[in-house]
């Protein structure tokens, strides 16, 4: 997060005589967000904010995972060269003004499919799989990480 604290907080952990516990707590929160030793942007594991789901039946079968972050394991039915498929991720935490980011962990047959978010609406988003190879089918089971970033238009 691009957040900063006023100068009184500088090096708070080494100046316990100068700062209150509340100041120290706030300093530590900001360090977790911004600090070079912090965990950075995103979500904490082990708090129930994330989940995992597996797609069944086909590459166009919808999945449901109402979490702000998680992993989707897609199905490995063959996706022909130059073919595309889409599936809906039903997620009650998604709003039409949000941004959903995805990263493919692994899975697709080498040099075949690319994955993009092709739709966002209230309660769901859509992932498109485009096999951009002109010769090779994708027969891999993709593992896709996602995070929901809340947005606004007001």
């Amino acid at each position: 997060m691009p957040v900063t604290l006023r100068a009184a907080y500088n090096n708070a952990t080494s100046r316990l005589a100068d700062v209150t516990q509340d100041m120290l707590d706030l300093y530590n929160v900001v360090q977790q967000l911004n600090g070079t030793t912090g965990t950075g942007l995103g979500y904490v594991t082990g708090q129930g904010v994330g989940g995992a789901v597996t797609q069944i039946t086909s590459r166009s079968t919808g999945v449901t995972l109402s979490k702000l972050t998680g992993t989707i394991t897609g199905i490995n039915t063959s996706l022909a060269a130059n073919a595309q498929a889409e599936f809906v991720v039903t997620n009650t935490l998604v709003a039409i003004t949000d941004t959903v980011n995805i990263s493919v962990v692994s899975g697709p047959t080498a040099a075949t499919s690319i994955f993009t978010v092709s739709g966002v609406t209230n309660g769901s988003f859509t992932i498109r799989i485009s096999n951009v190879s002109t010769t090779t089918a994708d027969t891999g089971a993709p593992i896709i990480n996602f995070t929901v970033i809340k947005g606004a238009n007001t």
Partner: protein, 152 residues
């Protein structure tokens, strides 16, 4: 970010007599997140860095930061081909999402860039030249941000 504070913090800067200084400081932090500079990392404190890719479009790079810029190699990428390279980054976990954004560089209407792999300590970027006839001979400039994720 959808962070809110209790009602006692409302309009904190104008109510100095009612609140403590740490409450005011917390109010200001939350305001910076929600109404200020937005989501992201602060410049100048070591969060970001820049690296250039040497030799070829498949040469790995190492940048152990949670955000930064990768200047890719400009070796010719023929039409309808792709090239992948590993970004070694010890801040990345296997459940994370890496967001990339192309600033510029590729020959017009040629390559698009995707994250095609995540592992503990690295991620993979693939350049896919989707043009049917034109090679990409540009230096891509790619921004990235690591977003921590979870499955629990």
């Amino acid at each position: 970010m959808p962070i809110t504070l209790p009602p006692s913090y409302q309009n904190a800067p104008s109510r100095q007599a009612d609140i403590t200084q740490p409450m005011n400081d917390l109010f200001n932090v939350v305001t910076q997140i929600n109404n200020g500079g937005g989501v992201g990392f602060v410049a100048g404190v070591g969060n970001g860095a820049q690296v250039a890719q040497q030799t070829s479009r498949t040469t790995p790079v190492t940048i152990n930061n949670r955000c930064g810029i990768i200047v890719g190699n400009n070796a010719s990428l023929p039409a309808q081909t792709r090239a992948s390279f590993v970004v070694n980054n010890n801040t990345v976990g296997t459940e994370d999402v890496v967001v990339i954004c192309l600033r510029g560089g590729p020959t017009a209407d040629t390559s698009q860039f995707f994250v095609t792999g995540i592992g503990t300590g690295s991620f993979t970027i693939t350049a896919a030249n989707l043009n049917a006839v034109t090679a990409d001979t540009g230096f891509p400039v790619i921004h990235f941000v690591v977003i921590k994720s979870a499955i629990t």
